[in-house]
């Protein structure tokens, strides 16, 4: 970098896009296509998968055996969903997902990840001090519960199946899915008795 000032990030982004389109390497529709896709990837998808697993024992088993096809049968598949593994929380074990080296996430079921997931703070600390990070984020876990942190270092994309909150026996799938946030699917929160 010279002593000149760094260009505004918005103008840098526009310059790349404009030049790719001007040279015919990409079309405006290509860009729009992936923005439309990004709208379809959202944590509500993963929440529906979880709610169904809570209420349908056979689906739960299929999800644990082969989450990629179990999610695909609900329509959640595609980029960064090529090999999904579902991690079921139990009263003894809590699962948390991170990508320390970049910010990989199961897009079709979790959506594009939030800024905190992509931050150096989360990526550096959650593998070393998971209980402390979770506590700072509002989730206090008993020392009796083991914490298993899953590092997304290769091509597996993870989703957490949180514990079904007690007192939700009467709820249907739609109401249940409303209890599952993006944070719960990553493992930094529990499924809540209060709706999202």
């Amino acid at each position: 970098m010279s002593d000149q000032k760094t260009a505004d990030i918005q103008r840098r982004t526009e310059a790349v896009k404009d030049q790719l389109i001007r040279k015919g390497l990409l079309a405006e529709e290509d860009v729009q296509h992936f923005l439309d896709l990004a709208e379809e990837w959202k944590p509500e998808n993963g929440a529906r998968v979880v709610a169904r697993a809570w209420t349908d024992p056979e689906f739960r088993q299929r999800l644990l055996d082969d989450a990629t096809s179990a999610c695909a049968e609900m329509g959640y598949t595609g980029l960064q969903g090529e090999y999904i593994v579902a991690l079921e929380n139990t009263p003894e074990l809590h699962n948390v997902v991170v990508c320390t080296q970049c910010s990989c996430t199961a897009w079709p079921v979790l959506g594009l990840p939030p800024d905190w997931y992509k931050s150096p703070e989360y990526r550096a600390r959650v593998v070393r001090q998971p209980r402390r990070v979770l506590s700072e984020m509002g989730l206090e876990l008993s020392p009796d519960i083991g914490v298993r942190v899953w590092e997304t270092s290769a091509e597996t994309r993870y989703m957490v199946i949180p514990l079904r909150p007690s007192g939700t026996e009467a709820l249907g799938v739609d109401d249940l899915s409303a209890l599952v946030t993006r944070e719960a699917l990553i493992g930094v929160a529990l499924a809540s008795q209060c709706e999202r």
Binding site: S2, K5, T6, A7, D8, I9, Q10, R11, R12, T13, E14, A15, V16, K17, D18, Q19, L20, K23, L25, L26, D30, V31, H33, F34, A38, L79, Y83, V85, T100, Q101, C102, S103, G111, D115, W116, K118, S119, P120, E121, A124, V127, R128, Q129, P130, R131, V133, E136, P143, D144, G146, V147, R148, V149, W150, E151, S153, A154, E155, T156, E183
Partner: protein, 211 residues
Amino acid sequence: MDSIHDLGGMQGFGAVRVERDEPVFHEPWQATAFALMVATQVVMRSHNADEYRHSIERMSPSHYLQAHYYERVLTGTTTLLVEKGLLDLQDLEARSGGVFPLAAPVAENPMSDRVPQTEARFTEGDRVRVLPISPAGHVRAPKFCRGHVGTVVHRAPKFSFPDTSAHGGERRKEHTYHVEFSAQALWPREGGANDSVVVDLWDSYLEAASS
């Protein structure tokens, strides 16, 4: 590559800040940067995902830490487009009205010399040690687990080996394994007794361990 991107276990960072009801994109340029990152790989096929990840790793550590995620996305993608001659840096700088910082060039001799493992060498329950490698080029074994012994808890399908595919090498596929390391083995005085970290590791990164 031993670069700032390999953050797992690095100390000195503060609290994780969670934004309530965070939107997917905070500003329009972030959406564009995201779409360009995917479109260059999927539509243009100008580079693969491993080249792309490596391009971000090559950013200067200071720029990497200061940049928002989608600035890293744009910087890596643009670096590759310029390196491959598809875009011209001077032209981009003229159009954007200032310096357009890119990532550093690929190291000399970046290609992995790990022996390809076409057949799975390990299975669930096996004890394995992560080799203490420190290659100049792309690698996906995080530093925090190198040299440590863990247990295979799952064998995943074969996936393209990133250390070669990031550098134009022959496409070879290897199984990856979910390897569980006890937290106390990784960080003896910090890790909880019931806690562990599971890392997804290519076969070539591992050797059999007895204990």
